[in-house]
Symmetry: C2
Subunit: 114 residues, 2 copies
DNA sequence: ATCCTTTATCGTATATTTACGTTATACGAT
DNA sequence: ATCGTATAACGTAAATATACGATAAAGGAT
């Protein structure tokens, strides 16, 4: 990957790839799904819920923070994570727009019963 | 990643992560977007459209094939790639369902003008 | 038969990711 | 002040991903 990325592809394409990459590990998907289902959770709660060492979960949380898919708020010694709802929705929508209608019969085709 | 994956996470979570991983490189996003916008393309057309060597594009196409996001059909010496529309739609929908409504005000909240 | 085109595969160098033990930091409780 | 808890950051080994030249395989054209 010598020096590819922003130089070689347009910004929108790179942004979509970065978003997908942030989601490209089961642990990170599991974290996001859990935050969605249970609401905000502390790092410790997430560690307890995942089959990985604390250091590893912390590393995945950093990746999600850096991709701005979650926000962390400190309260004393605890750190609570919550979804960046707006940003996640934005990208789900972008994917839906860009790719989510692939091969869907058009109005005209359906009108003709093709 | 010593031996994680299917052992440690549920199938749905792994499937979503695998889909995201298949999309996690700008070249692969660019390929998918192009197939969406221009319709099916030969490998050669995709090579011409991307700032990467033929071998590299071929490798990205294999990744997309293995993730079943595209299908290849041979015609003589040419190989034409097309989107696996149904599968892509399925996952765009799955992400929308699982994460795409994060932080959206509920009916009840909106009714109360919160 | 020979040559050219098209595309996949091989080999390989480099970069990135993942996992985890260990250590550092910072807060709260005693 | 000391100790325990909660978390991030460091260091590092192993696995994967990325890029690309070179080569192989298979059709088509002459």
């Amino acid at each position: 990957m010598t020096r590819s990325r922003a130089d070689l592809f347009d910004a929108e394409t790179v942004a979509m790839a970065d978003f997908a990459r942030a989601m490209s590990h089961p642990a990170r998907i599991a974290i996001l799904r859990r935050l969605m289902e249970e609401g905000a959770q502390t790092a410790g709660q997430l560690v307890a819920a995942l089959p990985l060492a604390q250091a590893t979960v912390s590393q995945h949380l950093r990746a999600l923070r850096e991709a701005e898919l979650v926000v962390a708020t400190e309260a004393g010694t605890r750190i609570t994570y919550a979804l960046e709802g707006a940003r996640i929705r934005h990208f789900c929508h972008a994917f839906q727009q860009a790719l989510g209608t692939a091969g869907v019969p058009t109005e005209a085709m359906r009108a003709c019963h093709i």
